[in-house]
């Protein structure tokens, strides 16, 4: 999951400053170059970060070689600052030609009319057949294709083999249910020694997935009411909340140390986390592997996706679409993403993904693709960030014992309904 902690430097009471400054600056900036002749398009992104800037640059260089009249100007921002900066630029009419959106934020941008209809603007530049259909359709809003799936990631159960061996337990399998996980977690926990059976964050994303694993629905069919306080919802919330302080460390027991560090130190046996963690686990002393996450009444796995999108106001829609298509699905991109572990390309051709499977650890990398058989995308509304914060807040109240699980869900449903 992305860690969102916006930079802590906003002391001013007048919050209009940023936005209004942008408005002022907008008046001074020059318009983009004309389309006949060399074209420069901007690409604003958060996924390259510090780790993958070089890889992105290689993709840009290759694209520019193939399209000598197009120059791509890359601008990076860390995730926590990215959306503020992006929105400010859109408000100031200086939106970058192309940029990235994660699935959770896609709807608020799409419904505001900020995004370019790619299939209409540049039908020849887009080839939808190369994409994994679920990922492609995720960025279709009201029948209009507003984004190309750039990458995706899923969450799996990462487990420490050494701890299982020491406890004399069998490794988790794809057939495991919550009950199996719980039984193993109880045997693996030794709180006195600071070792816990599992770690699963108690927040919105884990909840919507656990809800789906119990066969529940987050919203009713026409998205007019939240329904996650159903029996399935209560089961899902108990599943998460009841672990805390028992088979999973609570905040005080963690004392400010991250779950990633605890897993790396061999203090957590089963860890619900994303495939983006694999690279951080290459050098840890313990042996580890992954498996599809246990389900309750059914399997369900997270699906996180990022899209490349173009601004509705870009002066170069065709060039922008060309770049996005290249960025999302060119052979070079696929190759770089798979071999250098930079999330997964959302391509349909499974044969292209073969090289990824041969990389170990983890031995059972196949679980990443097996997870795709039962992926569920997060429920998304226009006021998404508020929705996520409300659900997480009430789950935490239940963890702290301020509210019963049932009351917490009922109150969360009420607040979420007010957002719809």
């Amino acid at each position: 999951m992305h860690i969102t902690k916006p930079a802590a430097r906003w002391r001013m009471a007048g919050v209009g400053i940023l936005a209004t400054t942008a408005l002022l600056l907008a008046g001074c900036s020059a318009g983009p170059a004309e389309s006949d002749g060399p074209v420069t398009i901007e690409f604003f992104n958060f996924t390259a970060g510090a780790d993958h800037e070089a890889q992105l640059q290689r993709i840009v260089d290759a694209f520019e070689d193939e399209n000598p009249n197009i120059t791509v100007k890359v601008q990076n921002a860390p995730y926590e600052d990215y959306f503020t900066s992006l929105k400010t630029r859109i408000a100031g009419n200086t939106a970058p030609d192309t940029f990235e959106l994660n699935y959770e934020n896609f709807v608020s941008f799409a419904s505001s009319g900020a995004l370019l209809d790619l299939e209409t603007a540049a039908p020849d530049a887009i080839d939808k057949s190369v994409y994994f259909p679920k990922a492609y359709d995720a960025f279709n809003f009201d029948g209009v294709q507003l984004g190309l799936p750039e990458s995706f990631s899923v969450v799996v159960l990462i487990y420490n083999k050494d701890l299982f061996d020491a406890a004399g337990l069998d490794y988790p399998t794809a057939d495991w249910t919550w009950a199996d996980e719980k039984a193993a977690a109880e045997k693996l926990t030794n709180a006195g020694a600071g070792v816990f059976g599992e770690y699963q964050p108690v927040q919105f994303f884990e909840f919507y997935k656990s809800l789906a694993q119990s066969g529940g629905e987050f919203f009713n069919d026409d998205m007019t009411k939240a329904t996650f306080n159903s029996e399935a919802g209560i089961a899902a919330a108990h599943h998460l909340v009841d672990k805390v302080g028992n088979t999973m460390p609570n905040e005080a027991q963690m004392g400010g140390i991250g779950d990633d560090v605890l897993f790396q130190q061999g203090k957590i046996a089963m860890w619900h986390n994303g495939i983006w963690q694999f690279n951080n686990l290459l050098d840890i002393p313990s042996k580890w592997d992954v498996v599809v996450e246990p389900g309750n009444t059914q399997h369900a796995s997270h699906f996180f996706a990022n899209a490349g999108v173009a601004s509705a106001s870009t002066k170069h829609p065709v060039e922008s679409a060309k770049w996005l298509q290249y960025l999302a699905s060119s052979d070079l991109t696929v190759d770089i993403r798979l071999n250098e572990d930079w999330e997964l390309p959302a391509v349909a051709d499974k044969a292209l993904l073969e090289p990824y499977l041969s990389i170990t650890p983890p031995e059972n990398r196949q679980a990443v693709f097996d997870s795709l058989d039962s992926v569920v995308v997060p429920p998304v509304i226009e006021r998404q960030q508020e929705l996520q914060d409300i659900v997480t807040l009430y789950l935490q109240k239940a963890v702290l014992g301020e509210l019963s699980v049932e009351d917490a869900l009922n109150q969360a449903v009420q607040e979420v309904n007010a957002l719809l």
Binding site: W10, V15, F83, Q253, G255, Q396
Partner: protein, 294 residues
Amino acid sequence: MVGDRGWKKVGLVALFLLPALIPLLVFRIFPMLASLWVSMTKWNLLRPPEYLGIENYVEVLTDAKFHKALLNTLYYMVGYLPLVLVGAIAIAVLLNSKLKGATFFRGIYFLPVVTSWVVVALLWKWLLSPQGGMVNYVLGLVGIDGPGWWTDPNWAMPSIIIASVWKDLGFNMLILLAGLQSIPDHLYEAATIDGATRWEKLRYVTLPLLTPSILFAMILAMIGAFQVFDQVWVMTEGGPAGATTVVMEQVVKNAFKYGLMGEASAMSWVLFAIILLFTVFQLRFQKRWVHYGD
């Protein structure tokens, strides 16, 4: 009447003021006025603003989350103000004496002030960590089972208060130290001749004459307390489960996380009004306790 030469002078002065005035207008005054307008609109930055009138203000004033944030901010202030002021007075009086090394200690106490809030907040997060934190370790040595500090809803705000007092002591000490040094020596001499003890000198000479500095420090500290944000954001992000949510944190979340620029601006103006009210109140009642030596 301003003659020709007078006007020339005004023009010259204006010319010299301009470099300071332009940034002030562009980056302070104009944005403030603009936020007043934004506060009367619905604006998520992505769509053009939509005029709402006073709806955002009604929303903010009746919003339970804002009430909670305001109460928490007051809780913070009630804990923070007395500690930081009394602490700063004590240190200032101590360091005002002609002790050896007083300058050195003044520097030490001022160090946290020039340290970034992010660093200080992380430092205190570690010191107050329930797992292997220094504070609980020391408490454990004397047989006290330390609380969960920032992980415990009841102790999270006190944790933030402790960190804030530690960081701001030096600044307040500096203001009060300046006040102490402006108290003329002859008053102490007179008091000595009248047979006043050290305590009586503190009570009847130092403190009364320090009151203008105390008032100044108090108003600044109060405004700062209403705007408390950095330490909350780094130490708890308003948690656990909303136990430390404060007004500025709500403003920032509304504006930059939820895209509710209108509500965030309205909240800022409500906070501005509250701060103004408190400040006017303090200035009004200063006559009762502030002595300006003549």
